[in-house]
Symmetry: C2
Subunit: 318 residues, 2 copies
DNA sequence: CTCCTTATACTCAGTTTGAGCATTAATGAT
DNA sequence: ATCATTAATGCTCAAACTGAGTATAAGGAG
C-alpha cells in the first residue's frame, strides 16, 4: 500500500502577459528537441512549504518576473506524457499553474522568451473573423477522420461533439472550449504531439506549432480557464498597465477571448460594473477624440462577489 | 535539480450522492484519531496509467460503487497537512477528486459509510432559512476575532471579505463560496483542524464536525465546485434515479446548493432548457396531484454547449 | 361531493442584452 | 480658420430573460 516509488513532481507555469494587444506566453527552448516548452521547476519537498511557493520560488530565480495572480490548473500524470529522459520506474507528475504578469521582460538567466499564444492554437483566434485554418484545414481533416471511423453507437455523439466544440452547425463559437477542441484534434491525430501516442501519421506536421511533451495541452487548459475566469474575476487588470483607456482594456479582453466585442456595450458593462475609475488623464494618441484613462477600482473587490468582465455581445468579423 | 525525494502521491475521493433529499458523502473512520476521513488510495506509478485510472482502480477495489462523473479538484501539497505517520523527509501530496454516484451502498470490504455533507459544513445549508449556527456562533466569533486583530491597512479588506463571503451586509448569500468561507473560518481559528496549525485555542471544539487532516478543506473545495458546475453541466442527473419528478430534481439541486428555489421558475428553466423529457409515467405518491416523471434527455448534450441547471431566483426561508 | 395538497400553467413588470444611431473632441489638410 | 476624418462617448429601443405571483388541474382523505 505504501507505494513511494520514484516520483518526481514538477511545477509547470503558463505565464501569461498581454502586450500590444496580443496574448503572450513565456516559453523556453527545449534543447534536445528544439521545441518550445513551458518553463518548469522541481517541487522540492524539503524546501518548499507549499506547491505554490515552490512555483513562485523557481520563477523568481529563473526569471525576474513579478507574478500577479497565480492559480493551480491541473495535475498531469499520464504515463508516456514525458517520453524523454524517463528511465525505469521513474514517473513525472506535473502540476500546471497559470500565472499572470504585466512585465514583458524575462530575466537574463534563462533562455526564456515571449511568444504569441495563438502560434500554438491558431484556431482559437477569431478576432479577424473565422481563422482561415478552420475552413482550410480543420473542417476537412476532421471530416475525413470522422468518416474514416467505423460506425458505432457513439458515432452520432462524436459528430455532435465536433459540431458543438467547433461551432460548425449552430454558428456559435464558444471561446471557452479550448481544451475540448484541443483534445478533439488530438484524438483525430491532427496534433503533432499525438504522434507519440500513435494517433497520428508520422511526418504529418499537424495543426499549430508543436510544443514539448504535453505542454500544448497545458496551455489549452490555461487559456480555457482564463477565458472563463475573466468573466467573474478581475484578472484582466493584472495584465494591464496602471492606467489604460477602455478601448485598450477591450483589446486585452479580446486578445484573451479571441473574439471581437461590441464597443459601446463593453463600455457600458465596465462602467456600470464599477470595475474602473477615471484617473482624470487622457490618452491623446488615439487618432480621434482623446480617450479618458482609467485605472482598476480596487474597491470593487470589496463590493461585489464576482467582479469580472462579462463579454458583451460578440461582434461578427473584423 | 533532480529532487526525487520520497514523495508519495495519494488520490483522495470526495464521493457524493444525494439520497432522500440530502447530499451524502462517503467517509471512512480513521482509526488512530477516530475522525472521519476521505477514502484514498495510493497512486501507483507502476500500475496506473493515469491519475484518474488510479483513482477509479482503488475505488472499485475498496467499494463496489459505480462512479459516474469524475473530476480532478485540486492538488494539495502543504507541509504539515498530514501530521500523522509522516517520517523524516517523506512528503504526501494528495490529488483530490470529486466523484458522483447514485448508488448508496458501499462495498463490504471497507469501513466506509455515508454521512450528511452538512455535518461538516453546517453553515452551508440554508434550505430551512439561515442556519442557526451562523447567527449564534459564527457571526459573534468572527466578530470577536476580527476586533481582536491589530489594525493594519488590510483590516478594511478583511472586514469586507467577511461580509462578502458570509453575506452579512448585502443579504446575498453566494452558495458557491464554500471554500472561501471555510478558509476564513480556518484563519479565524474557528475550525478544529486549525489547532494543528496553531491558529486555534486548544480544546476549542470548533464549528462543524472535524475531519482527518485537511479533508474538510477538500470537501469544501468539492462542494464549491459542484455548486458551480451544476449550473452549466448536467451533473445532477448522475445523482438522480432513472426517472424522477421535477420536484424531486429540484430537491436534489436544493440539497447541493443548500438553498430553496422558486418552484415554478425552476420548472420553467428545466422544461424550456430541454434537459428532461417526459417518460409518460406519473408518481402518485406526492400527497397531491400526481407528478409526471421525467428522465434526463441525453440529446441535450449534443445540442447545447453548457446544459446545466441554472438556479432560478432563490426563495427566502423555509 | 368537498376540502386539502401538490403539480402545472400562465401573467406581468422590472431588468438585462444586443444592436445601432447620434454626438463630441481631437487631428491634419486646405 | 474651416472642414473632413477618426475615435471616444452617449443614448435609444426592442427582444429576451427574471423574479415573483396568481390561477387551474388532478389526485387522496373524509
Amino acid at each position: 500500500m505504501t507505494s513511494s516509488h520514484q516520483i518526481e513532481i514538477r511545477l509547470n507555469a503558463v505565464i501569461v502577459a498581454v502586450t500590444k494587444e496580443e496574448p503572450r506566453l513565456l516559453v523556453v527552448d527545449d534543447a534536445p528537441t528544439s521545441k518550445h516548452a513551458l518553463p518548469f521547476g522541481p517541487f522540492n519537498p524539503a524546501a518548499d512549504r507549499t506547491l505554490e511557493q515552490g512555483l513562485r520560488g523557481w520563477v523568481k530565480n529563473q526569471t525576474n518576473l513579478q507574478l500577479g495572480h497565480v492559480e493551480q490548473l491541473y495535475t498531469f500524470g499520464d504515463r508516456g506524457r514525458d517520453t524523454y529522459g524517463q528511465s525505469g520506474s521513474e514517473r513525472v507528475v506535473s502540476v500546471g499553474y497559470l500565472a499572470l504578469t504585466n512585465e514583458a521582460k524575462p530575466g537574463a538567466t534563462t533562455n526564456a522568451h515571449w511568444t504569441n499564444w495563438y502560434d500554438y492554437l491558431p484556431w482559437e483566434d477569431w478576432r479577424e473573423g473565422e481563422p482561415e485554418i478552420l475552413q482550410r484545414e480543420i473542417r476537412p481533416r476532421l471530416s475525413d477522420w470522422f468518416h474514416g471511423l467505423p460506425k458505432t453507437t457513439a458515432t452520432a455523439a462524436l459528430r455532435q461533439r465536433i459540431h458543438l466544440t467547433f461551432g460548425l452547425k449552430s454558428r456559435t463559437w464558444n471561446e471557452e472550449l479550448v481544451l475540448e477542441r484541443y483534445e478533439l484534434l488530438y484524438e483525430a491525430g491532427l496534433i503533432a504531439e499525438a504522434v507519440r501516442a500513435g494517433r497520428k501519421k508520422f511526418e504529418d506536421p499537424g495543426l499549430g506549432k508543436e510544443m514539448h511533451s504535453d505542454h500544448r495541452r497545458i496551455i489549452a487548459t490555461a487559456l480555457g480557464r482564463l477565458r472563463g475566469k475573466i468573466k467573474y474575476r478581475p484578472l484582466v487588470f493584472e495584465l494591464m498597465p496602471e492606467r489604460f483607456t477602455l478601448f485598450q482594456l477591450q483589446r486585452a479582453v479580446e486578445a484573451l477571448s479571441g473574439t471581437r466585442l461590441h464597443k459601446q456595450n463593453f463600455r457600458r458593462l465596465i462602467a456600470d460594473g464599477g470595475l474602473v475609475e477615471e484617473t482624470g488623464s487622457v490618452d491623446l494618441h488615439t487618432g480621434g477624440r482623446p480617450a479618458k484613462q482609467f485605472c482598476f477600482r480596487e474597491e470593487v473587490l470589496l463590493e461585489r462577489l464576482s467582479p469580472g468582465v462579462k463579454l458583451p455581445g460578440k461582434r461578427r468579423a473584423g
